[in-house]
């Protein structure tokens, strides 16, 4: 790959921002599984596997799954963040395989956040 210039950086930034924020990426939902050491030890891999399994089963193509680092609230791991297009992101905690399957069908597919498992809605402010 060719070396980057500063202009390239800006282009990547703009291009990525689009996919990042779902708007122009053509995706309807993004599910982030928080996978730091704590999360993995608490079972984040099982969550990821179950999630991919559900997506395959449902045959949906506009749902992105991605991994990210620790969400900070180790006491409630494993955690995920579900973000639907133009909706506030919702964080779920203390997950199990059964819960993730329910969240997938209710929140991701039907658009109704699963209140009983949700920790918080919104994202944190970065300064």
């Amino acid at each position: 790959m060719a070396k980057l210039t500063i202009d390239d950086l800006k282009k990547i930034k703009e291009k990525q921002k689009a996919t990042f924020t779902l708007r122009e990426g053509g995706s309807r939902a993004k599910i982030t599984v928080h996978m730091g050491t704590c999360g993995i030890a608490a079972g984040a891999r099982t969550i990821m596997t179950a999630l991919i399994d559900e997506i395959t089963k449902a045959g949906v193509e506009d749902v992105i799954t991605t991994t990210s680092g620790c969400a900070g609230l180790c006491a409630r791991e494993p955690m995920i963040t579900v973000e639907l297009l133009n909706k506030a992101p919702v964080k779920y905690g203390d997950l199990t395989e059964e819960k993730i399957r329910e969240i997938f069908s209710e929140h991701v597919l039907k658009g109704n956040p699963v209140e009983k498992y949700a920790l918080v809605v919104g994202s944190e402010t970065t300064y």
Binding site: M1, A2, K3, L4, T5, I6, L9, I12, K13, K15, Q16, K17, F20, T21, L22, R23, T32, H34, G36, T37, I40, T66, T67, S68, G69, C70, A71, G72, L73, C74, A75, M79, T81, E83, L85, N86, K87, A88, P89, V90, P113, E115, A118, L119, V120, V121, G122, S123, E124, T125, T126, Y127
Partner: protein, 615 residues
């Protein structure tokens, strides 16, 4: 943030951006300039606060007035009414204030509400293995600025003006460190990163390396430019395999994209770095020991001067910065020193990451402005004690070099200076919270076991002294404490502090000194009354059931491994003292707090032996 009369917190979440935040923001900025208010009112972009359907939304501080469904057309009116005439613009004010969300909002939950994310700016947001996602969040823009627009002097000045201090423990000014190394003349200089996070109870560096490896690399590139280094090393503990893997992946991506290597971003500046795996020695967190370790030797500290800024790794000028320190360099360069100083105090500027652990409800990693009261961190963010029935006793800060802060000092603001005054240190930011069931003598002993084990052995006061103190503490916790032990411990501590070469020895006695300072009565009870009031030291306690509290539920009897608890159902139980081995199971199990812990009792030890034989 005090400098402005008002702050406008505009939501920059996906929903609001889609419904027009950027345009409204531009309109407000223009309007403020038109009215000459741009120096009084500041716009801050925030994360999503959950009112997407009402977007774009904006919160005005300090009045805390919430505006919704902003449009460009309404902006002139809004600015004139609210900011010029000082009366809230009712038309756009949030009406349905009673409308409760089923799921709590960020601001309803203290854990999130009190945090500000700078070092952890990308936590949980980006894929750590994707350089493009890092770039999307302003990644490498600071490096680009530093490499093409700034001289080394400019960079150092920016970091000095911001007041960035090392986040690894002592809080040495980072800009000054860079300046020393920058002025050293040599054919080769080294930019090093300390990822040998060793303080037990601290895991912020692991988390940053795992969640946002590029932020560390970018900080190193900027530092390298400042000091004139072309080679860097990240020293990481081998116990952090995931961090190593993600850092390596990030380095590979950078090399491929030309962000590491020759002529970075066409600036003519060259820098490359590699990872070095630590082999498990706590003392290697000390800078000279870490450098010896990279050279392939025993990681033993050496006297300073010469300081590493003149003679460090391979005797070349070197700078060693901690992971968290490096992760905050990029936004500081990009946004400037004033931005950095918006948070924190004069001497302790910016924000700090803390690892909350122990007997606390919300175990986790948090970032708050420097100067946040300890109480806010423990009770609001941390959610208080895990077991609501237990009282807070102490919070340990600074690991084996730190101390225990007691309840009466919980109102202090957390800054380098205020924490040191308590006898603890800021350290890398581990906060281990302990409730009333923690024995402070045993806690001091725990830390001494650690330092006695990790002392490299070079200096006699540290090597032998920590061992002698550990033996004394063991005697005290096992009932062999003697009159005068407390004074001897204090004397020995002061000698070790005065005569050790490196930070490990100079701070090793801190856990003892601080527990004696605040919990002397516990030491005295252990020594004179042979009484550990928490029941942790099993040789120094006895258990008894207070009959007027006991409901006779039988939970304790079922928990007792010795069968030492007897009693009829629904009637007060009692403990057969000769059989009791002080395991504390009954105390932990009792829901009514009917079990009392008293001083050790003389007992017929053969009873336990006979029982064991029967089984």
């Amino acid at each position: 943030m005090e400098k402005y009369r008002a702050n406008l917190l505009m939501c920059a979440g996906t929903g609001c951006v889609a419904s027009g935040t950027p345009k409204v923001r531009a309109a407000i900025e223009e309007e403020l300039i038109k009215k000459g208010l741009e120096n009084e009112i500041k716009i801050v972009l925030t994360g999503c606060n959950g009112f997407c359907a009402e977007g774009p939304v904006m919160l005005v501080y300090p009045e805390e007035i919430f505006y919704q469904k902003l449009t460009v057309a309404e902006v002139p009116k809004l600015v004139e009414e609210h900011f010029l005439k000082g009366r809230p613009y009712e038309k756009l004010m949030f009406k349905d204030i009673e409308k409760r969300h089923a799921i709590p909002l960020m601001n309803d939950i203290p854990f999130f509400k009190h945090q500000v994310l700078r070092v952890l700016r990308n936590k949980g947001l980006i894929d750590p293995d994707s350089i493009d996602e890092y770039i999307a969040r302003d990644g490498y823009m600071a490096a680009a600025k530093a490499l093409t627009e700034m001289s080394p002097e400019d960079i150092i000045k920016a970091i000095k003006d911001a007041g960035v201090r090392g986040r690894g423990g002592a809080g040495f000014p980072t800009g000054l460190k860079w300046e020393f190394a920058s002025k050293s003349v040599a054919d080769q200089k080294y930019m090093l990163c300390n990822g040998d996070e060793g303080d037990p109870g601290a895991f912020m560096d692991r988390s940053v390396m795992e969640a946002d490896p590029h932020s560390v690399i970018e900080g190193m590139i900027i530092g390298a430019k400042a000091i004139g280094s072309s080679k860097g090393v990240i020293y990481v503990r081998a116990e952090y395999p995931l961090a190593v893997q993600r850092l390596q992946n990030a380095i590979d991506d950078c090399r491929e994209r030309g962000l590491l290597g020759n002529d970075i971003l066409g600036s003519g500046f060259s820098f490359d770095l590699e990872i070095y795996l630590g082999a498990g020695a706590f003392v290697c967190g000390e800078e000279t020991a870490l450098m010896r370790s990279i050279e392939g030797q025993r990681g033993m500290p050496r006297p300073r001067p010469p300081f590493p800024a003149h003679k460090g790794l391979w005797d070349k000028p070197s700078v060693l910065n901690n992971v968290e320190t490096l992760a905050q360099i990029a936004p500081t360069i990009l946004n400037g020193p004033e931005w950095y100083r918006q948070l924190g105090t004069e001497k302790s500027a910016g924000s700090k990451v803390f690892a909350l652990t122990g007997d606390i409800r919300n175990v986790g990693l948090v970032e708050v402005p420097m100067g946040t009261p300890l109480k806010t961190i423990i009770y609001d963010i941390g959610g208080g004690m895990k077991n609501k029935k237990k009282k807070f006793k102490s919070v340990q800060m600074g690991g084996p070099s730190g101390g225990c802060i007691p309840e009466e000092l919980i109102d202090i603001p957390v800054t380098y200076e205020d924490v040191v005054k308590t006898g603890a240190i800021m350290g890398s930011g581990g906060m281990v919270v302990m409730d009333e069931d923690t024995c402070m003598v045993s806690t001091a002993k725990f830390f001494l076991e650690f330092t006695a084990d990790e002392s490299c052995g070079k200096c006699t006061p540290c090597r032998v002294g920590t061992r002698v103190m550990l033996d004394m503490l063991t005697d005290i916790t096992e009932g062999r404490g003697r009159e005068g032990d407390i004074e001897t411990l204090q004397d020995l501590s002061n000698d070790i502090i005065a005569t050790s070469l490196c930070g490990l020895g100079q701070t090793a006695p801190n856990p003892i000194l601080s527990t004696i300072r605040y919990f002397k009565d516990e030491y005295e009870a252990h020594i004179h009354q042979k009484w550990c009031k928490t029941g942790i030291c099993s040789d120094l306690c006895s258990f008894e059931i207070s009959e007027d509290v006991c409901t006779g539920c039988g939970a304790c009897a079922r928990a007792c491994p010795q069968g030492a608890i007897v009693g009829e159902k629904k009637k007060p139980h009692s403990i057969i003292q000769d059989l009791c081995i002080q395991c504390r199971s009954c105390y932990d199990r009792c829901a009514f707090q009917s079990i009392k812990i008293g001083p050790a009792k003389e007992k017929d030890k053969t009873a336990v032996a006979v029982k064991d034989q029967e089984e």
